[in-house]
């Protein structure tokens, strides 16, 4: 009678292990610190000391090009983040200052979200200004 229970227990362990890759899908800072540490440590950040870099004039035309990469999540109506689950926010129409702050904080790692932190690492101050200019001009 103990044997089936043992089997059940080991199966449970195997299944628990098998379910682990789900964690790798983690899209939020609430997950393991290693995940976040790895992501933030990746490329050498060109992050400035201040949260809000000196105001640059954004080029909305260039921002239009740069934001193609945002569409995979922010361009799908009703798209949800997973682990935890919530709708990816609507960002078109937010102010340029708010958007600049958000992207700069993600780049510095002071605001946490694995995907957004990686995305922001690739942007210069001018890129961020351009993206913010384009997004802030969008109307519902």
């Amino acid at each position: 009678m103990t044997r089936p229970l043992t089997i059940a227990a080991s199966l449970a362990a195997v299944m628990a292990l098998a379910s682990l890759p789900h964690s790798a899908l983690a899209q939020d800072a609430t997950q393991s610190p290693e995940t976040v540490a790895t992501e933030t440590a990746a490329p050498a950040p060109a992050a400035p000391a201040s949260a809000a870099p000196a105001a640059l004039v954004g080029n909305a035309d260039n921002g239009r090009v740069l934001t193609y990469t945002c569409l995979g999540c922010h361009g799908i109506v009703g798209y949800r983040n997973v682990y935890p689950t919530y709708h990816v926010p609507m960002i078109g129409g937010q102010s340029a200052v708010y958007l600049t702050t958000a992207l700069t904080e993600y780049r510095r790692g002071t605001r946490k979200h694995p995907t957004m932190q990686v995305q922001a690492q690739g942007f210069s101050d001018q890129d961020i200004a351009d993206i913010a200019a384009f997004l802030s001009e969008l109307k519902p």
Binding site: A29, T67, C70, P89, I91
Partner: protein, 134 residues
């Protein structure tokens, strides 16, 4: 018969593993665990001065969350309710930081967060997804 003997434990193990994984992944951080939001209660709360800052939501984010007093504050009207919940939970639990919002969210209960999110999500919006903008 011997295969049947192992089928049940195997199924049980599957079910247990599935449940365990789900609970660990979502945890307290998930807005999915919050109670149902109530728009009217949320509106009242959005107009109430918070004990930590002496400000209400509307004092800074403007009427219906659509007229921020300062460009550093986001527009909230019509934003997805569960994103607002997520943001407030993160501020409350110290996983997102902002001089004002971290204080403002400290005292909020799960129900209050759900109510505020329901209220702001129900308002007209100036926001949009990026669907079709290119």
């Amino acid at each position: 018969m011997s295969s049947m003997r192992y089928a049940l434990p195997a199924l049980l193990a599957l079910a247990l593993a599935a449940c365990g994984g789900e609970a660990e992944d979502t945890g307290r951080s998930s807005s999915a665990g919050l109670p149902e939001g109530r728009i009217a209660e949320g509106e009242t709360l959005a107009l109430t001065k918070g004990p930590a800052t002496g400000q209400s939501c509307i004092d800074c984010h403007g009427e219906a969350g659509n007229a921020p007093l300062d460009d550093t504050y986001p527009k909230l009207g019509g934003q997805y309710y569960d994103y607002i919940e997520h943001a407030l939970v993160q501020y409350r639990d110290g996983r997102r930081e902002n001089a004002l919002m971290s204080q403002q969210a400290t005292h909020l209960s799960d129900q209050q967060i759900a109510d505020l999110a329901a209220y702001f999500a129900s308002q007209p919006t100036q926001l949009r997804t990026l669907h079709g903008v290119h």
